[in-house]
């Protein structure tokens, strides 16, 4: 699927008269409401500023495409929005261009970029743009008493009904352990041990018969809306948009959320490296990051952006700050996804997870 914002760009370029010098940058992201937020907050202002074109493409995550393009020496993508574990892995394998954070613009309050970004959001080959989170949500019209903790999600006696869960061990094992009483701070220490993994699988096993598995981020809101499940894990932004734009009666439970980053990377040998670099620097600036947050409830990674976060783009009454994964109220019992743990154990746990599914 290609959404081409070039028409707009062409019109602009024609009026400014710079049509000749324009580059066409291919920006790849996850589609849906998320890409929409990036087009509104990053692409359009950048196109207006530089007169370049952007071709926006969707993908489903993973490094496979980047790896294939780089190894074949035929790179088509200029900027890709990736998950942290893929950013680290891609960098280690030499698939990505490096960034120099000192060349990034300072925050609007004058703080240098290196200090303005939240800790752990800037890497050799990747710069984060948002904080997103795996949470669980329920349909408030279907449940008479509201669940409030992560343990409730795994309690089919108190809250009978089907559960939607992503068909992947990531975030599920962590949530299972937190539901089993492991404090967020100790989750990965427990998961490092074989007994810890057993314990997580045993917890998942207790609801296995009630699970509907999902794979794409667009599925959970649909499963909830269809009444296919009473609760489901989901990406917080997807649920927020179903509530804000489609007026769905969904509620998010933040207890036990597993938060993560999305980062911009540039594949090694990108055809428009200079323009791509400029795009990343512009997009991760204070204002575009804050603007992005008024289209979807993913938190900006710059400290200077948080005070600028306003309301939902077409609903001035809907303040965005309380819907961010990073809002203090939502962070009470939260866990950051540990990319190093997953980079080490992903293959083994995937196998074990699939074997467990097949039992």
């Amino acid at each position: 699927m290609k959404r081409v914002t070039t028409v707009l760009a062409a019109a602009l370029a024609a009026t400014v008269g710079v049509a000749n010098a324009a580059d066409t940058v291919t920006v790849v992201s996850w589609g849906g409401a998320y890409t929409k937020s990036q087009i509104e907050a990053y692409h359009k202002p950048w196109i207006a500023r530089t007169g370049n074109f952007i071709v926006s493409e969707d993908y489903n995550g993973g490094l496979a495409e980047i790896k294939a393009q780089v190894e074949a020496g035929n790179v088509k993508w200029d900027v890709v929005d990736v998950e942290l574990s893929d950013a680290i892995r891609g960098c280690d394998e030499g698939l990505l261009e490096e960034f120099d954070i000192s060349t990034f613009p300072a925050g609007t309050d004058g703080t240098a970029a290196a200090d303005d970004f939240l800790e752990g959001t800037v890497y050799d080959c990747a710069v984060a743009n948002i904080v997103w989170s795996t949470i669980y949500a329920y349909d408030s019209t279907k449940l008479s008493n509201a669940p409030s903790t992560i343990a409730d999600f795994f309690d089919v006696e108190k809250f009978p009904g089907k559960r939607g869960i992503r068909k992947n061990p990531k975030a599920n094992l962590e949530m299972a352990l937190m539901a089993d009483g492991v404090p967020a701070g100790e989750v990965y220490d427990v998961l490092e041990t074989e007994e810890g993994v057993e314990r997580a699988f045993a917890k998942l096993d207790s609801i296995k018969d009630s699970v509907v598995w999902w794979e794409a981020g667009a599925q959970p809101p649909q499963l909830l809306a269809d009444g296919e499940v009473v609760m489901t894990t989901a990406y917080n932004g997807r649920i927020f948009n179903a509530v804000a734009s489609e007026k769905k009666p969904f509620e998010i439970v933040w207890d036990g959320q597993v938060w993560d980053l999305d980062l911009f990377v540039i594949p090694k040998g990108a055809p428009n490296k200079e323009a791509a670099m400029d795009f990343v620097k512009f997009s991760t600036g204070t204002e575009p990051l804050a603007a992005q947050a008024s289209w979807i409830s993913y938190g900006p990674v710059r400290k200077s952006s948080s005070s600028l976060v306003g309301s939902f783009h077409d609903q001035p009454d809907l303040k965005m700050d309380v819907h961010m994964p990073t809002a203090p109220n939502n962070m009470k019992n939260a866990l950051q996804n540990n990319f190093e743990f997953w980079a080490d154990n992903q293959d083994q746990l995937n196998e074990q997870f699939n074997a467990w599914l097949a039992q």
Binding site: G94, W213, D226, E228, A343, D344, Q346, D347, N350, A358
Partner: protein, 414 residues
Amino acid sequence: MAQTAAGAIDDKLLKKRLDKALFRNRSRAFFLVVPLLLFLLVAFVGPIVYFLTRAFIDDTFSSLMPETTAILADWDSTTEPTEEMYAVLVADMVVARENKTIGKVATRVNRDKPGTRSLFTSTARKAAKLEAPFKESLIGVKKKWGDIEVWQAMKTASAKYTLGYYAAALDLKKNSDGSFERQDEKRRIHITLLTRTLKISFLVTIFCLALGYPIAYLLATLPAKTSNLLLILVLLPFWTSILVRTTAWIAMLQSQGVVNDLLVYFGITNDDSRFSLIYNQLGTLIAMTHILLPFMVLPLYSVMKGIPPSYVRAAKSLGATNWTAFWRVYAPQTVPGIGAGAILVFIVAIGYYITPALVGGQDGTMISNTIDDHMRKSLNWNLAAALGGVLMVVVMTLYWIYDRVVGIDNMKLG
């Protein structure tokens, strides 16, 4: 004499000219198929062969850590690693870190010993600053470097030619002494998936035959006007995207879907205990049977169309009952169509992946979904190639058995 000689010359000349003409024709025909042949070689045979070799050739470690590979070759996998080995390892790591290839090395070793990925990447960051004695300083950075299993994993990874991936595809694991044993029970997955894939494909073939045979019979025996209309009904879904048809089945079969709504409406089940018709094996079977049905109907139809109706009439006039006439006279003549349809459906089914991925849930996904996973997510292309190789061998074996039992010459596509 002279005449015969002249005749012989004529004969020779004629033969030569005939040969020439035949050669011209043959080469013309050949040149006409050259583009297709080249296309097949470049776009089909070449990539497949190259990819299959990836299943047993893996030079990631040996090419990126050459000195370590050389020294590991002389190591017997049981004695304590020497200081020299540690020193060589550090030297290789410094180079790999500079070339940004340490991630590849780490990923490779991690496959044989999970948990070693960060060991390599984090140690490599400090490698340039390490000083002799390297054994002590490495263990100082991470205790795990003293673990002999890490060295055994490196030795396994350093082999350029390996059966490890095929072993993994068959749920075996390679011990450091080179012998194979079965994978831990909780990690055995591929054999289960392979048997499930065969089972689903077989059932889908049976269902397609059971549903497709009467349809094809009807199409072949009705007057042309009606049968053409019905044929369009068979072809329309055939021309519709698989994705659309699969999604349509989700709308039909989900627990709040059309089928369940009807069952509740007619009181066959009640609202709280709706049937799980999708996101499981049943869903995969239903959706795949529907999608593959035309592959069965079309060959059957074309074979049935060619059976003269007079045979059955003759059988009946000789006193056969309707059943005997059908079973003894008509059905045997449709065997080539059944053969063609069955093998088409089965072979297409065995590699199916979009439909099981969407509606398979936890017990309805197939081996191709795992291959896809290794291609796109874990990036273990070697294992994906080995799984593909196993699948290919299974299909070829079944094809061979089929040829022995039914006979491939008996197949008729139209």
